[in-house]
Amino acid sequence: MKTLKRILAVTVILVIAMVIWYLVFTGQVMNAEEAYEEANSLLR
């Protein structure tokens, strides 16, 4: 039971970390897209 609880806790932490990583990554992608669009509009 104790081992199961520990495995569950580690899994939950890993999942949360991955989700946060994905959310931050998405934000970075959005910023990059915006910068790209801005640069394109300036070139035009």
Binding site: K5, A9, V10, Y22, L23, F25, T26, G27, M30, N31
Partner: protein, 705 residues
């Protein structure tokens, strides 16, 4: 000492100058922003006053506009429409397949990098491990000698660290002595980090919103708040900022843990309230019987104080205009002079007061200038009409129980209590929380002289304590051994001249004890006892009780949430280190740097884990409650033993240990002196050495035959 104070003073002055210069060079914008916030506040005050006392102005105040000083944040658009567009865009990207694959590829890239790092580091660790193993393989008996690396480490790192620690602790205590410096620094940093502007802006917007209810301006305020917080996030590095959520997380989970512990204590109190005045807790050895009755005793003492306070509050409201404080002060003086020392003398004192009042009718002398003509001397509660003096009697008795600065526990073993009374010369307040961090002054339970519980013959003739016990919590461990059962007392006669269990009328006291302890229809008495089997106590007394059978004590649990991983790390470190350490201790007698550092780190983790388990740990006792008549009908219940409450030096489980110690001291024989069996089979001489009834019987019969 004086030199150090001068040094700390100079350091404080230097730091203050530094902080002021920081404000001038690093945070000048915060002060411009504060000026702007002040202007916003003035504008909002005007807007508010116009709206309340005149017409609502058409022009909006400046608080709803963005600041000219703070820099915009790229991630947060200035208007709500822009925010919505950005949010939609974010969600579109979030759930797109391309983005997921790009992220997975990024994860793969980072993992590959990490694997490379591990691949390089792993052989190094392995080599280091082998090297240490080889170095430590050699045995020695250099007792408590430090190796050269450890000697250098102790003299450089540890000494430096200790000096730095001593300096910081000294400086912090110096600052604590000079509280104004702390406050000045806090205010200064509040201004530097724009917190003052946020507070001013909050009040400005509150005034505006209270009269306008312009919900569409809320988004602007949220953006403004985010912009105002920028100096805070920009000035401090991320590794300091991460401490803030960690601290908040710590507070959050501690709050949950304390709420749980208080809930369990409330459930225990509910269980104790259900019990009759006398109860017996039973269970085999090691089932935590004495622990449980001690826990119940501590809770009951607290409940008595709380009940006394409740009676005081209710009686106060029955005569709301009576000057209770003067009455309390006179009662305290009587306590001090010894005219009042128990509930009976309290009643006598009130009776005297009543007689004097009836004789002289003096409000000034007996009722502390209470205007009896205007406010009355009677109170009708729809059941009966109570006079002021009845209320005074109730109040004085409850106050006596409440204010008594000694333990309310009387027991045949010692119990430590640490309830603390706080007073500023007016009404005292008891601090009755078992889980608080404060170290409180200790008191111990009163020694139980069984003669005070005997209505018949006493062990000690003319015992001055006899008849004095009125109220309190009585805890008696191993009651069966004290009182015996019908079988054991078969030969004991009531008519005997000597005091015994049949002629001391202890059972009569048990049946009538509530009579002396009742205040305002509530009995301030409870008797908790324990024994291994309920049958060990005579049926006459046992029939009065509820029997609490401890079925099992569960595993230790923790009220602190989200602690699993920390516990796992602590346990892992402890077990790994202990096996390594014992191996080392077996081989060597000296101290080495590697083991020293490992030991320090493991000890820190272990101590932290122990503290948390002691602070938030608890055990659930599964119990079955049945009537003293033992009709076989049991009710399953739970009782919570919280470590912080019951294991903080409350009592010793070996409460009669001194008896055995006294015997053992006189013998001059130890376990090592007992003769060992010569072979696997006991010889006749060895059997006879046992002084056993069985063996002696066998040989007696054999020899006689």
């Amino acid at each position: 000492m004086k030199k150090r104070t001068v040094f700390y003073g100079s350091l404080t002055a230097a730091l203050t100058v530094c902080f002021l210069l920081l404000g001038f060079f690093v945070f000048p914008r915060s002060y411009v922003r504060l000026k702007e916030a002040g202007a916003d506040l003035v504008g909002c005050v005007k807007y508010y006053l116009h709206s309340v006392f005149g017409e609502t102005p058409e022009e909006m105040p400046s608080v709803v506009e963005y600041s000219d000083v703070t820099e915009p944040i790229v991630l947060i658009p200035p208007d709500y429409t822009g925010f919505k567009t950005q949010a939609l865009r974010y969600y579109r990207i979030l759930f797109s397949k391309d983005n997921l694959f790009a992220w997975l590829s990024s994860v793969g890239g980072k993992s590959a990098k990490a694997s490379k790092g591990i691949a390089i580091v792993l052989p190094c660790i392995l080599c280091l491990w082998l090297l240490i193993k080889r170095l430590y393989a050699k045995s020695n008996n250099r007792y408590n000698r430090d190796t050269l690396p450890l000697w250098i480490y102790r003299r450089t790192v540890e000494r430096g660290f200790l000096a730095a620690k001593r300096f910081v602790v000294g400086f912090v205590s110096f600052l604590r002595e000079h509280g104004r410096v702390w406050i000045f620094w806090l205010v200064l940093w509040g201004f530097h980090l724009n917190l003052a502007s946020i507070v001013v802006e909050f009040f400005a917007y509150y005034l505006f919103f209270a009269v306008s209810f312009e919900f569409k301006t809320l988004y602007v305020q949220a953006v403004k708040l985010a912009r105002d917080l920028q100096p805070f996030f920009r000035f401090f590095p991320w590794w300091i900022l991460i401490l803030v959520p960690l601290f908040l997380f710590k507070r959050f989970r501690e709050r949950i843990a304390f709420a749980r512990l208080h809930h369990y204590e409330a459930r225990n109190c509910g269980f104790i309230k259900e019990l009759p005045i006398v109860s017996i807790t039973c269970g085999s050895m090691g089932k935590k019987k004495t622990t449980m009755i001690t826990d119940m005793t501590l809770s009951q003492e607290v409940m008595f104080r709380q009940k006394a306070l409740e009676i005081l509050q209710k009686t106060d409201l029955a005569f709301p205009n009576f000057p209770w404080i003067c009455f309390e002060n006179e009662l305290l003086k009587c306590l001090e002079y010894g005219t009042v020392y128990n509930l009976a003398t309290v009643r006598v004192w009130i009776e005297k007061k009543r007689t004097r009042y009836e004789k002289h009718r003096s409000n000034r002398l007996q009722l502390y200038d209470y205007n009896s003509g205007r406010y009355g001397l009677e109170y009708d509660d729809a059941l009966s009409v109570k006079s002021l003096f009845d209320a005074l009697e109730t109040y004085a008795q409850a106050y006596f129980i409440y204010v008594l600065q000694s333990s309310l526990i009387v027991s045949n073993y010692s119990v430590r209590t640490d309830n603390d009374v706080v007073t500023r010369g007016n009404f005292p307040i008891w601090s009755l929380d078992f889980f608080t961090d404060r170290r409180q002054s200790s008191r111990h339970a009163h020694v139980l002289d069984f003669d005070v519980l005997r209505l018949g013959k006493k062990i000690r003739e003319n015992n001055p304590n006899a008849g004095s016990f009125e109220f309190g919590v009585v805890a008696i461990t191993e009651i069966g051994k004290e009182r015996g059962n019908n079988l054991e007392l078969k030969e004991v006669k009531k008519k005997n001249d000597e005091t015994n269990q049949k002629n001391d009328l202890f059972n009569s006291w048990l049946k009538m004890c509530r009579h002396s302890a009742t205040v305002d229809h509530f009995p301030f008495i409870k008797v908790f006892t324990d024994e291994q089997r309920p049958e060990s106590w005579g049926a006459d007394a046992r029939d009065l009780c509820d029997i609490v059978n401890i079925v099992s004590a569960g595993d230790a649990k923790l009220a602190l949430p989200f602690y699993t991983i920390e516990e796992m790390i602590s346990e892992w470190a402890f077990h790994r280190f202990i096996s390594l350490y014992h191996n080392f201790r077996f081989r060597r007698g000296d101290n080495t740097l590697f083991v020293h550092i490992l030991k320090q780190a493991t000890a820190w983790l272990w101590k932290r884990n122990v503290r948390i388990c002691n602070k938030y740990g608890y055990t659930v006792l599964k119990i079955e409650k049945e009537r003293g008549t033992m009709d076989g009908k049991t009710v399953p219940k739970r009782y919570y033993l919280v470590n912080r409450k019951i294991y903080s030096n409350r009592f010793t489980t070996d409460c009669f240990a001194d008896y055995f110690q006294d015997m053992a001291k006189k013998t001059n024989v130890g376990l090592m002196d007992y003769i060992e069996y010569a072979t696997e089979k006991a010889s006749v001489e060895e059997l006879k050495m046992q002084n056993s009834y069985f063996i002696n019987g066998l040989y007696g019969r054999y020899e006689s035959e």
